[in-house]
Symmetry: C2
Subunit: 321 residues, 2 copies
């Protein structure tokens, strides 16, 4: 397991370090990138000549405003820092060389596996960027527009623009400070939250046209066949977002999403309102999860999968009412 | 025109007033209701025995948590206060009796027509609830959970959950204070932002199935016939939300929404990215608006309306590129 540090110790180690490599997780999101970018800029501001960011996957061009310097072998890393990476599997194969020698990990995932030599973990933080904000304040580095943009990106994306349950008073407090420091929130919100891919919209259209209501409208169900998914070219991350859709409908207590896999089986996501146990529904079909979000996978055709999941939903709704 | 007050004068008048009637605008939203409810609770807390809220339309049951006391003739109003109502037409006919004798209006709309005897206007506030928050702080009334819920509702709904361009550092700052005071932000966000009506989803499905791309995908267009709109029973407020959809698509510079009216004509909304002038497009068709959001109405069938608007979009895109 990792040695556990407090924030002052984290700062001390970073101040002593040279030739610093900052590692992000694969399929990078706004928080891992915003955290790495903010830390990169702050360390440069402290006068470190050699700092760079490495990620196994390409960084989507919409994040160009972060002005990240990517690692391309321009120095021999002496100190490796992972940000927002909960386990070693999440680095991706192409950066394995460095993933196995992480000196320091800064993270907000309670599930962090402790793979790094030293760990700073705050699971009450809404995003790793919230921790990086505190660290940069402690450094005495002034937060300018670019730093503010990077940190706002991490906090806003991990909270779904201050919508999700992890949003805290501190999230809003920091957002206020970042706006005062010059974060271009209007432009960033447009880029981060008001842009959908054509593929996402196409699969959403298909899913909505396959919307069914069951059990006096207490259950809503959408499904997508593999052929439909493939025809849109949609990315997996876009598909994940769809699972919240059926439960959002007024009066619906159980929202079901069936997504056919290339193998033909159906991956099923169950989202419930408080009082209906999603985990109980899925566990009886060999899956599992949390009380309001669970999943399972069923072989056989669409009708079989539907029948099986609806039977368990009915059982749970009867128990509940 | 109204006499212009500062916040201290507003407070003085409210402290002297008795038998206070609080007026909301028709088709009430989270801000007019949250502002009225918060002011109602604060005035009660100051020991005013007779305060009540009046709105021309029914208050949607999802706002029940505000615990608003409605005016039903239980006292003879001596002081009438309008919150978040920019012009006298917005009260609705059934409350005309009081709308014509408003003593004080508290508002954040720069377009306020000055119909009240006295006006407190702060167009830099993201919501009227932001002003009410400042007023309640000035009163010295402690903000408890219910008050915090009401004020959070106003601020979060008018900013689209801190997404829209009117979101300021002050919006986030106040949200932080309200969470500390006990606002049940997780539950409220679920009610306010994660719940869609069946009708809204049905019309969204229809609109998406009618999605067209034009001019090398720089323009996206959706349309809804009156028959389709009527078949879903969707409310006008839900329809307004759809107009932002086509512009949200990656790479799209002009998003067009055509909505047939009961008369058969088409109401057209144009939303653009910076650099493309929505107002220029609509002005040439007899409409108008702002540089990134404009509208017009065209008689004749769907094909005519489409042809006319697309011709103007093409002209504007050619000018731009």
């Amino acid at each position: 397991m990792s040695e556990t540090l407090d924030l002052t110790e984290v700062l001390g180690r970073l101040l002593r370090a040279e030739k610093i490599l900052l590692l992000c997780h694969k399929n990078p999101d706004g928080d891992t990138l915003g955290s790495a970018a903010a830390l990169y800029h702050a360390l440069k501001r402290l006068g470190k000549p050699e700092v760079a960011v490495l990620c196994a996957d390409l960084i989507p061009p919409r994040y160009d405003y972060m002005q990240i310097e990517l690692f391309q072998g321009q120095f021999e890393p002496q100190y490796v820092v992972a940000v927002d990476v909960a386990s070693i599997q999440l680095f991706g194969d192409s950066v394995r060389e460095y993933a196995q020698r992480v000196d320091l990990c800064i993270d907000h995932h309670g599930s962090n596996s402790g793979y790094a030599d030293a760990l700073y973990l705050d699971s009450s933080a809404c995003a790793t960027a919230e921790i990086i904000y505190q660290l940069i304040c402690k450094m005495g580095v002034e937060i300018d527009g670019v730093l503010a943009d990077c940190l706002y990106t991490g906090i806003s994306t991990d909270t779904g623009c201050f919508l999700f349950g992890n949003t805290s008073a501190r999230s809003h407090e920091i957002a206020a400070r970042l706006m005062e420091a010059g974060a271009r929130v209007r432009d960033l919100n447009m880029i981060l939250f008001e842009t959908k891919s054509r593929a996402r919209l196409a699969i959403e259209s298909i899913a909505l046209s396959n919307l069914e209501y069951h059990f006096q409208d207490r259950c809503a169900l959408i499904y997508m066949t593999w052929e439909q998914i493939e025809s849109t070219g949609v990315e997996t991350s876009d598909l994940e977002g769809l699972t919240s859709l059926p439960r959002q409908i007024e009066g619906v207590q159980v929202g079901i999403t069936l997504r056919q896999q290339p193998s033909g089986s159906y991956k099923i996501s169950v989202r419930t309102q408080p009082g209906v146990d999603a985990c109980a529904i899925c566990t009886r079909l060999g899956g599992g999860g949390h009380s309001m979000a669970a999943g399972c996978e069923l072989v056989g055709g669409l009708d079989n999968a539907k029948q099986a999941i609806l039977a368990e939903v009915e059982r749970e709704l009867c128990r509940e009412s």
